[in-house]
């Protein structure tokens, strides 16, 4: 497939969930959030059409996908050999002009001097069935067009990391349906960031929202380097029913020369709550809105950062269906009975239901 101009890049405002095959899971979700009126840092997706063009160029015999499908889940040496060679080819491949031009132009429109975040957006990731959490690349604070193109290639290549390939083999996902979009998004200078589950990650309770937050960029939580603050909000009453402020020894901040820098926090700063009560409530309300929009519990990434006018606001960076508990939802807690009081008769009989 050739990447014709216009197919290579799609802006968030022009895509939604239905565009997953073209822009991948993360890109589709960010588009959907943008369309739903949420505050999302602006950005675009380098489409799977671009990916397919490059893949075709480095795979003249068109047999990469078939080779992967022939691998056995447990055969790590074989997986390593195949995956490593594919990745290597992605990293050195010559990019068609159409792609380079389209990406650079979009980058300029986004405000090229500002740093961007570059994130993998595979067609298979972030679905209700498979999270692919953390298996594919994310590059933060990417500065300049050269670095951006490097990051895009790295994201493509990460689709063929050993872990990703193993994961797909385990889930028996058909390779021909797997492709990689790459999200390019304005980088936020977040004061605080974290994740939010619109149900309890501990009990699966859908009536609460669990928020984890830390100071600085969200990468500190994702990488597990800090113990985040934890907040639990009751969806029905809006009450903050639990509030645990942890000692956060460090935060991630954007490095001057691109990338992320770890910054130690002094004693007085460590105990500062990542979020005020008002922010917790606002965030929970946003979570509820997104959940309603999707019609299912969500796993959301958020950040509190100044906008272009310097006013702090809450941004959503990602929303994907919650996968762990939703699988258990398939079994209802109880089944309707012929007559309402049959429930009581059954309970009083005390037989296991």
């Amino acid at each position: 497939m050739d990447c014709v101009a216009g197919d290579c890049v799609r802006w968030f405002g022009g895509i939604g969930l239905a565009d997953r095959p073209l822009v991948g899971g993360k890109g589709a979700s960010l588009g959907e959030l943008t369309r739903a009126g949420m505050a999302v840092p602006p950005g675009f997706v380098v489409t799977t059409a671009a990916f397919e063009t490059v893949l075709a160029a480095i795979d003249p015999h068109g047999d990469i996908r078939a080779r992967i499908e022939r691998l056995h889940e447990g055969d790590l040496p074989a997986i390593t050999a195949v995956a490593d060679s594919i990745r290597e080819r992605f990293l050195v491949a010559a990019l068609p002009d159409a792609i380079t031009r389209a990406v650079s132009e979009a980058h300029r429109l986004l405000g090229a001097p500002h740093a961007v975040a570059v994130r993998s957006s595979a067609t298979s990731e972030d679905s209700a069935d498979a999270s692919f959490a953390g298996l594919q690349d994310t590059h933060l604070c990417v500065q300049g067009p050269e670095a951006l193109l490097r990051a895009v290639r790295a994201c493509w290549a990460s689709l063929y990391s050993r872990e990703s390939v193993s994961y797909r083999l385990r889930l028996k996902l058909p390779e021909r349906e797997v492709a990689m979009g790459v999200v390019v998004q304005s980088m936020l200078a977040s004061r605080a960031a974290g994740v939010m589950f619109t149900r309890s990650p501990i009990t699966g309770d859908r009536s609460v929202i669990a928020i984890e937050g830390s100071l600085g960029l969200g990468s500190a939580i994702v990488s597990g380097e800090v113990t985040p603050d934890k907040y639990v909000v009751n969806k029905v009453t809006g009450e903050i029913v639990q509030r645990t402020v942890s000692a956060k020894a460090l935060r991630h901040v954007a490095a001057a020369d691109g990338g992320v820098r770890v910054e130690a926090l002094g004693d007085s700063q460590q105990r500062l709550p990542a979020l005020s009560d008002a922010e917790i409530r606002e965030l929970a309300a946003l979570g509820r809105q997104v959940e309603r929009h999707y019609g299912a519990p969500q796993d959301i990434e958020w950040a509190v950062a100044p906008d272009r006018q310097g006013v702090e606001r809450i941004y959503l960076l990602q929303s994907r269906p919650e996968t762990v508990w939703s699988r258990r939802d398939a079994l209802p807690v109880a089944q309707p009975a012929a007559r309402a009081y049959d429930h009581v008769l059954a309970a009083l009989h005390n037989r296991p239901r």
Binding site: S207, P332, V333, A334, P336, N350
Partner: protein
């Protein structure tokens, strides 16, 4: 259950008499005494219904209810796993245990009967409940109408001229028996629907806990509870009367601590508006002032009608609020809207339409049974029981007039079986033209019992006795006992750690408040409550309603999330912890405490 807390409680046989109370056993019928085999069973102190040592007569409020309750579970509906309740009186306190069925074949056999019978009530609930209300009205009228013969020197001439053929001493015993009979019928009616109603609550609670593992019981209770329940009516009537007094301009006599009779006389002297207010008061009094100042289990739980000082102590406050232009009405519309919203939100949050269908079925059934479950208390424990005790006072007056007891109230220091004998003695003497023998027999006995009863009040009753069961998972037993494995674990924690400065109970209404405690032993003491204090009591009932306008938080020994204190606290938006088991014995008036209604913990600070 947590292994650390599976410590056993004292055995029934290990409980010592309180020095100086030897002979307390004779105060109660023989069948309430501890038997050797009782050491094998787990008992718990029913402090919810019997927070004080029992006067002899009042043990009828354990004997008769348990004959009614067990009849319905064991024999009438044949609950598959649950029979009835055994009770024992130990140092004046009522301990109970539930009898269960564990043999699978026996359960199956009972299930066959149960499945044929229970549906009749569920399917015809509203119609049967209306019939029930008519029956209760009739029963209350019947007990009210019972005439206690006065045994004058000569019989009523009508007995001769209408050739009735029966002299009135016959009716002394007959009337007494009819009172006891009505009391027994009332308790049968009381349990006619109750366990089936609790069953509907229980399955909904369990469903909510499964669907929303972190849901607070108080949220489930808010979905179930109705807004218009009789429980609130007496207090609503007071508010109506307060508003009316201000409207009619007859509000001046309503001042703190004024004697009700003087207030009535003053209002009566205010011309036509005063007369109108008094007429409205009469309308409120019948039936709404037939509300007990306790929960109807003791003879000293008089009704507002018996003792107007309770409602009249609340009126000045309401009058002052009306004058100041403050709203005193329950925000029923808002409560209803909020309930509708909560229900809709939880319903939407369920995972599937199948679960939503279950939710609708179970909550729908709760709403069907709710009016009975909540309203029966007004008819049974309040209205009927206060009338019953008033009637007993008439028998007490007869005995006092005949000189066999000193004061009419002394009748409550005799078992009802003994009252029977005391009356027969008087009947005989009236007929024989001689003096009754009772004075020498009853008076010393009554004096001794009064002394013993006073001493028994100092005894701290263990919350439970005997080997603790691992858990109480059987929903029917939970319904019978009103307690769960969590309650047991909570109690035994308190039992193990008398030095802990924390009391654990149910989080009944959210919020955290610190303040000074006021421990009230009975509703008659509500006049002592100062603005901004925290109420600490054994249990609350509708007659406690007025106190909630003054306090900042409520703590009770007894009760769950559907208890009166819990419901009212939520409506007033104040923190409450209920079912602590021991708040009134651990907290002193004037002590600084923190009430955490989110976690269900009371901390003693000072």
């Amino acid at each position: 259950m947590d292994a650390r807390v599976t410590r056993r409680f004292p055995l029934p046989s290990e409980i010592k008499d309180v020095p100086g109370t030897e002979g307390w056993r004779d105060m109660y019928p023989f069948f309430t005494r501890v038997r050797p085999e009782d050491d094998q069973r787990f008992w718990f102190y029913n402090s919810m219904h019997f927070p004080e040592p029992m006067p002899s007569f009042d043990s009828i409020t354990s004997e008769v209810p348990y004959t009614g309750l067990g009849a319905y579970t064991t024999r009438v509906f044949a609950f598959p796993t649950a029979l009835g309740i055994d009770h024992r009186i130990i140092n004046g306190r009522v301990y109970i245990t539930a009898n269960t069925v564990t043999d699978p074949e026996e359960i199956e056999r009972r299930l066959q009967v149960f499945q044929q019978r229970a549906p009749h009530y569920y399917e015809n609930w509203n119609e049967l409940y209306q019939q029930w209300e008519r029956r209760l009205h009739a029963l209350i009228a019947e007990v009210d109408a019972i005439e206690v013969p006065q045994l004058p020197e000569f019989e009523d001439p009508a007995v001769v001229f209408e050739a009735r053929g029966i002299a009135q001493n016959h009716y002394v015993r007959a009337a007494f028996h009819r009172c006891v009979e009505c009391f027994s019928k009332m308790w049968h009616h009381h349990f006619e629907f109750l366990m089936l109603g609790y069953g509907a609550y229980l399955v909904f609670f369990q469903f909510c806990k499964k669907a929303f593992p972190e849901i607070a019981e108080q949220m489930v209770a808010r979905m179930v509870a109705g807004v218009e329940v009789l429980m609130f009516r007496p207090d609503d009537e007071l508010k109506r009367l307060a508003r009316l007094a201000v409207e009619l301009g007859v509000d001046a006599p309503f001042i703190d601590r004024a004697d009700p009779q003087q207030v009535l006389a003053a209002v009566g002297g205010l011309g036509e508006p005063g007369q109108r207010w008094l007429a409205e008061l009469e309308k409120s009094r019948h039936p709404w002032f037939n509300t007990s100042t306790g929960d109807g289990f003791y003879h000293h739980h008089r009704s507002w009608n018996d003792d107007l000082s309770v409602p009249f102590s609340a009126l000045p406050r309401y009058v002052a609020m009306v004058r100041a232009g403050k709203s005193i009405d329950r925000p029923t519309e808002q409560l209803r809207r909020e309930r509708t919203r909560i229900i809709a939100e939880y319903r939407e949050l369920l995972a599937s339409d199948a679960e939503r269908a279950v939710f609708d079925q179970m909550l729908g059934l709760c709403h069907v049974v709710f009016p009975y479950v909540e309203n029966h208390k007004f008819y049974c424990e309040h209205w009927f029981t206060t009338r019953f005790y008033s009637k007993m006072r008439e028998f007490g007056a007869l005995l006092a007039r005949k000189g066999v007891i000193d004061d009419l109230e002394d009748v409550f220091h005799l078992q009802h079986f003994e009252v029977d004998q005391a009356l027969v003695d008087v009947m005989l003497a009236w007929a024989a033209g001689s003096a009754p023998a009772g004075a020498e027999h009853w008076k010393p006995m009554i004096a001794e019992r009064k002394r013993i009863l006073e001493k028994l009040k100092d005894w701290t009753a263990p919350p439970a006795l005997g080997p603790m069961p691992d858990s109480i998972e059987d929903p029917a037993v939970q319904m019978l006992w009103g307690i769960t494995s969590e309650t047991l674990s909570m109690w035994s924690r308190g039992h193990d750690a008398p030095d802990s400065n924390e009391l654990v109970g149910f989080a009944a209404s959210p919020g955290v408040v610190e303040g000074l405690a006021r421990v009230l032993k009975s509703v008659n003491e509500i006049g002592q409550m100062q603005d901004g204090e925290i109420l600490v009591c054994a249990v609350t009932a509708p007659s406690w309603g007025p106190v909630f306008g003054k306090i900042r938080a409520a703590v009770s020994d007894i009760g769950g999330t559907m208890s009166h204190a819990a419901i009212v606290a939520r409506e007033y938006g104040m923190p409450a912890v209920v079912g602590t088991g021991q708040a009134t014995s651990r907290i002193r008036t004037g002590q600084r405490i923190r009430v955490d209604g989110d976690r269900g913990i009371v901390t003693l600070l000072g």
